[in-house]
């Protein structure tokens, strides 16, 4: 309960939470406010925002409602960001846990693999994955998850290294618990909180990665992704700059919300580290 109180003492954390709730609200209500396919033609192309009450945020190059794409885009951003983060954290925790618990050659091999992934530029690896496996919503999400696991792995490994010889683990060992039981039942629950907090960073980066991919037209073209819309807006940038400007602000606010909530959680759960 103290942690919750500490969370709400920080104005930045409250702003982050409110922003995130707005984005989640947009994602949930998208079907309600804009029941039509957001990628269907709605009116005249390139209507400026606020000039026609039917299209509050205007229309894009081919006459699709920008507001509808922003609302439905919130779904895509949260979906891809969330799912990719889960994938990255699961892979990272597994690899980090085994490396940190067993040590020795297991650690050496797993850390070499982690290092290999860290040396390769994230985005270049993402390009290779998309080039090979195509760019449907599922493959893009998995690909973003696959390029994002090394940092959670390192964090988990460090936690396991510091926890594996604590008294409660040795007590479990004396009781005859198996390695897997110790890893999953005893150490993991203690190692998890910092990793969960760090997941907000992974999610922020995942949303940015997908939007960059969509901007380059290498993500799924059949969904209303904010990045797709910016890519379209680029073609009419010189005069109708609002087409690219509006979805960019949506991405900025979402990533900002996720980072602020993560930072707030971190400060609330580790009060001694506040301000770092």
């Amino acid at each position: 309960m103290d942690a919750i109180k500490r969370y709400f003492r920080s104005p930045a954390a409250i702003v982050g939470l409110l922003l995130l709730l707005v984005v989640i609200g947009m994602a949930i209500s998208a079907g309600w406010f804009y029941p039509r396919d957001p990628l269907s033609l709605a009116g005249r192309p390139l209507i400026w925002p606020f000039s026609n009450p039917r299209f509050l945020l205007g229309t894009d190059n081919s006459g699709r409602d920008i507001a509808a794409q922003i609302f439905h885009g919130a779904r895509i951003a949260l979906l891809i960001g969330g799912a990719a983060t889960v994938i990255a954290v699961v892979i990272g925790v597994l690899i980090g846990a085994f490396a940190g618990y067993f040590g020795g050659w297991v650690d050496t091999v797993l850390m070499r693999i982690t290092e290999a992934f860290q040396i390769l530029p994230n985005f270049v690896l993402l390009l290779v994955l998309v080039a090979v496996f195509g760019s449907t919503l599922t493959t893009v999400t998995i690909a973003v998850g696959i390029v994002s696991w090394p940092a959670p792995a390192r964090l988990t490994r460090a936690e396991f290294l510091s926890l594996r010889n604590r008294e409660f683990v040795q007590a479990g060992r004396t009781l005859g618990m198996k390695d897997l039981q110790l890893i999953l039942g005893e150490i993991l629950p203690n190692a998890l909180p910092p990793v969960i907090v760090y997941a907000s960073v992974v999610m922020a980066v995942a949303i940015l990665l997908e939007s960059a991919l969509a901007f380059l037209r290498l993500s799924d073209p059949n969904v209303a992704s904010w990045g797709n819309l910016i890519g379209l807006g680029r073609d009419v940038l010189r005069v109708q700059w609002y087409v690219a400007a509006i979805p960019g602000i949506a991405i900025l606010l979402t990533v900002l919300a996720v980072s602020l909530v993560g930072q707030g959680l971190n400060d609330a759960l580790n009060p001694r580290l506040k301000g770092r």
Partner: protein
């Protein structure tokens, strides 16, 4: 001598990792639909099966996968990255042509992010919890959340379309064909917006790290001693604190090198710079896997090289590091 020793060991340690990367990527590419020959045939506007078979034989694509991998690695050892059917040149040549703009862009962005981050971080730490700190920290958060390609587009709208101060894209004016100083200035003016765009997110990270490490060092005993000796604050910061606070910043350069290379893919596409990042994008779109594999190889080498330089710099900043090993 010690530094060289350390460096040699680090380089040797990175060879297995590099090998792992290459084998992994090679195996990954086996999943790709179509191969170089398919791409070439499409380029030529189709062809018969006999020609395709001949071409596959010529490029060694009819061999078993372990044989192909062996061939590939053996060629890499001799820095032969194969032939790019799309560009009609050896991959190594294509990459070398595209490398300078990327290296220039990366160096410029890194320097900008590092020094601006350093200055802003110091200002924030000096006025901790007062308005300059709040302002700088908020800006840092916003920069971190800004998609770089979007920032680039908005910068083009403001500085190229409306104000017309800077060019919207390209590496230099083709028509000008100037030399010497004029050409340097021309390239520099083309690089201002890409540098800001690529550097923005790193600026945000550097200023946060600099602020945190300044705050930590400012609380250490030797700073109290320096204050007790009656040194003024500026002198304490410049002579005593900065050197120690810089260590985490330097570590970060190595960690961020890969991210920066990845970021240049997007930034070079926004500003149509003829660099390595744009080449990576083009080879994905055109399915030129030979070139893509070559870029992955060169990127890995670049990141390892940056980390190596960071190690050398680190050993200079903190003599204990090289003495300890």
């Amino acid at each position: 001598m010690r530094i060289l020793n350390l460096a040699g060991r680090r380089l040797a340690a990175s060879i297995p990792t590099l090998l792992l990367i290459l084998i992994g990527i090679f195996l990954l590419l086996q999943f790709a639909p179509g191969d170089t020959v398919d791409a070439m045939m499409a380029q030529m506007g189709g062809g018969d099966a006999a020609t395709a078979r001949e071409l596959r034989q010529f490029y060694g694509l009819d061999l078993s996968i372990p044989m192909q991998l062996g061939n590939y690695l053996w060629r890499l050892v001799r820095f032969d990255l194969g032939f790019s059917s799309i560009y009609g040149k050896p991959v190594a040549t294509v990459i070398l042509e595209r490398l300078p703009p990327t290296l220039l862009l990366m160096t410029a962005s890194l320097s900008f992010a590092f020094f601006a981050g350093l200055v802003l971080g110091v200002i924030a730490a000096r006025g901790v919890n007062k308005w300059p700190d709040t302002l700088i920290s908020t800006l840092g958060l916003i920069f971190y959340a800004t998609p770089s390609f979007w920032f680039g587009l908005m910068a083009i709208v403001v500085f190229s379309v409306y104000l017309q101060w800077l060019p919207a894209g390209g590496f230099e004016d083709i028509g000008a064909a100037s030399t010497g100083l004029a050409r340097t200035l021309d390239i520099a003016s083309h690089l201002v917006l890409p540098t800001l765009t690529l550097g923005l997110i790193f600026l945000a990270i550097y200023l946060r790290i600099m602020r945190a490490s300044m705050l930590e060092v400012l609380n250490l005993d030797f700073v109290r001693t320096a204050r007790a000796k009656g040194l003024d604050e500026t002198r304490i910061v410049v002579r005593h604190v900065l050197r120690n606070a810089l260590l985490p910043m330097v570590t970060l350069i190595g960690l961020q090198a890969g991210t920066m290379l990845g970021g240049s893919v997007v930034v070079e596409s926004v500003f149509s710079l003829p660099g390595l990042g744009r080449l990576a994008y083009e080879s994905v779109v055109q399915r030129d896997l030979n070139t893509l594999l070559g870029i992955v190889f060169v990127s890995a080498l670049l990141v390892i090289a940056v980390n190596f330089l960071v190690d050398l710099l680190y050993a200079r900043l903190d003599p204990r590091i090289s003495a300890g090993t």
